[in-house]
Amino acid sequence: MTIKLGVPSKGRLMEKTFDWFAHRGVTLSRTGSDREYAGAVAGIEGVELVLLSAGEIPRELSEGRIHLGVTGSDLVREKLGLWEEQVRELAPMGFGHADLIIAVPKAWVDVTTLDDLDAVAAAFRRQHGFRLRIATKYHRLIRDHLREQGVADYQLVDSQGATEGTVKNETAEAIADITSTGETLRANHLKILAGGPVHRSQATLFKSRKADWPKDDRATLKALLRQLGLDG
């Protein structure tokens, strides 16, 4: 048997993941042509590389089709209900940093914190007859956060891209999105609410709790974790 390791199939996330493993003596590489999603693993026996879209890795882990996977901690939390019952975080990998934040127009001089947003939502609903709209693709993370914080009178509207533009286009009053530098937010005249991000995301190595883990695969995992310095 082999254990399947799911890794993002392209871009910086793939390169950084390869670097991270290489630094620990496990060489991951793509094989075949540039367009073929096949990979190889050297430096350890019994591990198979599976190249996948980062967005699909959470589901593959929860379905147990891969044993280990590298993806953003935000994606796991957003895509998997009760994620801790389905996967375990083995190691934060120190790259792919991005914060999930809530932002409002910079010209809202009366709004600094989530408390302000809540109060504005109440007044906005009275004034406009509908709930203040927050554009996002992170529905679960944002809804859970706002429920926990006791924010009312808002609604989430789905935005799968160009989310920063929704306020100017008047399809939302605020946005919730991932940002690493805040540059796009500033360019779109938005500011981040104070009080810390909803979630600090980074690339993370996860283990599936749903995959089959026969005895020899557990032994392989143990060897791999020792090799990666994660057995402490």
């Binding site: 009760l82 809202w108 009366d110 109060a119 504005v120 100017k168």
Partner: protein
């Protein structure tokens, strides 16, 4: 997930409970399983989208699988009902259980709702006694609360209308309520950025254009409100302590009545609500229920559905803390106003979950 044999048993239990409610004088009503999402979303907000199954219909637009009966029953009554009215119903409701996959996403509710202007205490007692007697064989713990007393207590705080409104808006979100109360009583500092707002023109130096639907006038209104709020004296410590005392009450109905009357001496604003509570207790006792056997909790009802605004109750299986409440209910006068488009009628009701009566009776879920 219940198998089909279980479902037949649940259906039979639902029919039995429905017959009990029918015998109590209720007209049996049906509501569609597919409900227009707009009403429910407007009422409950984003929480319901997280908990209800949303689908779409080519004509109706966004629709939800019925997450409860109360809303459609109230709408039906407000549109065409004669008064007074008693309704009973039985059927499935659907709730996503993302946070607890062990709870059923689809289950039965059997309900009884009273729309009657005559005597609120009598209606409350009628509904509570009906549930109490129907559930008597199952050995459940009955807990009650009174959102009306909490609202009266907030209305009586020495502070601005704006602060009272903010607290009442979050009565059902205990954490946010606590945060606001700490701030309004001076226990917690003003949030970041407030001091700067108090001085000068807050738009000075603003280099970004105003984008979006929220207008400059709306921002200026809120700046004015925040300035007024910063000049508002803190809610006195003594009043905060009394409120904490009220929220912390956990005793029998009989003892709670004494405790609340003591509190009302220092909080005269709750006196009328406490007397209504006492009148209800007498009406309950007149129906042969011992107030020593009923619990009262000052905070009961604060984490349930937002529409209860008076008497609230729940029946819990003491030996089965893993189960959700077997029955819940309460008064929801304000909901009839929201759904009645200008009309309103006092209303009280509740639901029993037949899966759970079976589970308690049979000792397994």
């Amino acid at each position: 997930m219940p198998d089909t044999r279980d479902k037949a048993a649940v259906r039979a239990e639902a029919a039995r409970l429905l017959a009990t409610f029918q015998n109590a004088g209720a007209v049996v009503v049906e509501t569609p399983i597919l409900q227009p999402a707009e009403t429910l979303l407007d009422l409950y907000g984003e929480d319901i989208r997280g908990r209800a199954y949303v689908t779409s219909d080519p004509i109706m637009g966004e629709a939800m699988l019925r997450p409860d009966f109360t809303v459609p029953v109230v709408e039906m009554h407000m549109a065409q009902g004669a008064e007074p009215a008693r309704y009973a119903y039985a059927g499935e409701v659907f709730r996503k259980q993302e946070d607890d996959p062990h709870r059923a996403p689809e289950y039965f509710q059997v309900g009884y709702e009273v729309f009657d202007r005559a005597d609120a205490a009598a209606s409350d007692a009628e509904v509570f006694a009906l549930f109490h007697d129907t559930l008597a064989p199952f050995g459940l713990r009955a807990a009650t609360g009174d959102m009306g007393i909490l609202m009266a207590a907030v209305n009586g705080l020495t502070t601005s209308d704006r602060r009272r409104d903010a607290l009442k808006r979050h009565l059902w979100r205990p954490r946010r309520f606590r945060t606001l109360l700490d701030r309004f009583s001076g226990r917690a500092p003003n949030p970041e950025g407030r001091e700067a707002l108090a001085r000068g023109n807050p738009f000075d130096g603003m280099d970004a254009p105003l984008i979006g639907l929220r207008s400059r006038a709306e921002i200026e209104d809120r700046v004015a409100a925040l300035r007024e709020d910063m000049a508002t004296p803190p809610i006195p410590e003594a009043e905060v302590a009394l409120l904490a005392d009220l929220l912390g009450i956990r005793e029998t109905l009989a003892n709670a009545c004494e405790h609340l009357r003591d509190l009302a001496v220092d909080m005269p604003a709750i006196a009328d609500a406490v007397e209504r509570f006492a009148t209800r207790n007498r009406a309950i006792a007149e129906r042969g229920i011992d107030p020593e056997g009923i619990d009262f909790e000052g905070s009961f009802g604060r984490t349930t559905m937002e529409y209860y605004d008076g008497f609230v109750f729940g029946f819990h299986a003491g030996q089965r803390p893993d189960l959700p409440p077997v029955a819940t209910g309460g008064r929801y006068d304000a909901l009839t106003r929201v759904l009645g488009r200008g009309k309103a009628i006092p209303a009280v009701g509740g639901v029993i979950r037949p899966e759970l009566t079976l589970a308690v009776a049979g000792g397994s879920a």
